[in-house]
């Protein structure tokens, strides 16, 4: 998957987890929670959706690495690459 495709999935799933949000306008380097009205439950739905959609493991210990859009994209790309490499 290309970085652009991963970003598109990420933005779509944020919009789904937080109806009414405009994640495409999020700055890359600011905490997502500061910019989008998202609570812990919404965040869990987002992570679950990303896990299912991308078919990658996202262990709880790594949740902190999804804090900004930039970090999340890099993390998801690495997980997807690791999964592809296993095949």
């Amino acid at each position: 998957m290309s970085p652009d495709a991963i970003r598109a999935v990420l933005i779509e799933e944020i919009r789904r987890a937080v109806p009414g949000s405009t994640p495409e306008a999020l700055p890359d380097d600011r905490p997502i929670r500061d910019e989008v009205d998202i609570d812990s439950m919404d965040f869990l739905s987002l992570v679950t959706a990303l896990h299912q959609r991308l078919g990658i493991p996202i262990p709880e210990a790594d949740y902190g690495r999804l804090d900004t859009l930039g970090h999340a994209e890099a993390y998801l790309a690495a997980q997807v690459a690791a999964k592809t490499g296993e095949r």
């Binding site: 109806p19 009414g20 609570d39 949740y63």
Partner: protein
Amino acid sequence: MTETGPFSIIHKRLGPGEPVPNLSEYDGERAEFTWDEARAAFAHLPGHILNIGDEALDGQVRRGLGDRLALRWLGRDRRRDFTYAGLAAATNRFANVLRSLGVGRGDRVFSLLGRVPELYVAALGTLKNGSVFAPLFSAFGPEPVRARMALGDARVLVTTESLYRRKVLPWRAEMPALQHVLIVGDSTPHVGTRALGPAMGSASEAFAVERTLPEDMALLHFTSGTTGRPKGAVHVHDAVVSHHVTARYALDLGPDDVFWCTADPGWVTGTSYGIVAPLTIGCTMVVDEGEFDAERWYSIIERERVSVWYTAPTAIRMLMRAGTDLAKAHDLSSLRFMASVGEPLNPEAVVWSQSVFGHPFHDNWWQTETGGIMIANFRCLDVKPGSMGRPLPGVNAAIVERQGATVQVLDTPMTVGELALAPGWPSMFRGYLHDEDRYRKCFVGGWYLTGDLAMRDADGYFWFVGRSDDVIKSAGHLIGPFEVESVLLEHPAVAEAAAIGVPDPLSGEAVKAFVALKPGHAPGEALRDELLAHGRKRLGAAVAPKCLDFRDELPRTRSGKIMRRLLKARELGLPEGDISTLEGTER
């Protein structure tokens, strides 16, 4: 002791070298306890003066604890420490800022802040000034914020630029009584606001605490009922006696502890036990600015050597979900006592905590109106997983049945009735602001009726059964269905709306809305998203519905009241698969 549920009793034994609990012998100490004796320990200022801010800070400095660490604040990527003397000085500055604005005794000072140091300074500075502190949860949307500030006669608001812009500015002009808005930081771009930083910088560190009396109003906490607007529960300075005593007994808190209460001060737990109680005890409190994150939480306990930990069932279930391995990867040996509040802690979670931490979470029960812990599992008593425990010293609880203008006390063990408390503890609410009628209705036959249904077993342990009304409890927070429905009804497509709580494995209940549409509007995914988005924009993530279904019409009683209970019964009575077929929606 009799087993009540399918889970074995967790027996307590004092290990070698373990300190004796603050409450060491339940029945004897409970029999001897009086609130008047407990109050006597608080006479720090001459002339019956009692002030929560003074008890929490200046009193500790007078006792020689000024150099002790009061607050360790953990920001997302930095930290700040405040000693008792440091916090006393900072709160004096804040009190002087209020005084310079002409804000005084009884005036309501609201906060709309995340867990930043300024929140703690504002809370205690407001109390020292004799003003009333009313904290709001920063995840509220503009509508809950506006409704609570209007109800509470807000004169001052302390907030951030971002929260002000998103949640207050849209309606500020409609609230002329809100005279002062203090924005955290060095500058503010908004007309009609003041930057807090420079105001604090030029204020004096010397302040004579306002001579408040025990029955003077100190704190205003909002809670929700089934109908109508939110309720503002009034608490007085005398509440500090309850805060202190209950933290000693139910949390086993002592001056040498490092205490972490994970609740946000926007809710009553985060104020009673996240600000006041630990400071009156003289221990160190840890505050984390961040939201729940399992790895971060375990790291905080490990690094800060947290010894007493007070959290909530939703968080505990999320920790369970994160797995035992994550917990085992950290040194959590500093923990010596753990407690939980907000909603009943499921027995599986109690058993899990015992196996992972070597201690069980001690569930306890109280509500906004009670101001402090009323029923608890104690360090000195065996724990029956799933039970809320036994009443605190100074608290008399019973199971009752309403019978018109009086109540019948139900003495037979394991009989379901309404949980009732005998009035008289110091942190009992003294009113619902501007709603004397609603307050009076809470008291019947000499009892305060809590609205919770419960049972008591033969050993005196209480068991939660459910709510006697339609209030929704999500992640430990009460959500009034009326507040949610009112906002949905603002939308031009909505003819009728109802909100109920549906079971959620993590948050206990999640808010679900049902709407019937006006002619000319058709149900569909796009409209569902639009309505959910509308709810979030107006109510905020903490209150807004998480899911929504369309109905042709909503069931009503003959008098026209929406039958939320019937909606809920239908919702829960059908298997999951049938619901998705019936509604034709993706779940």
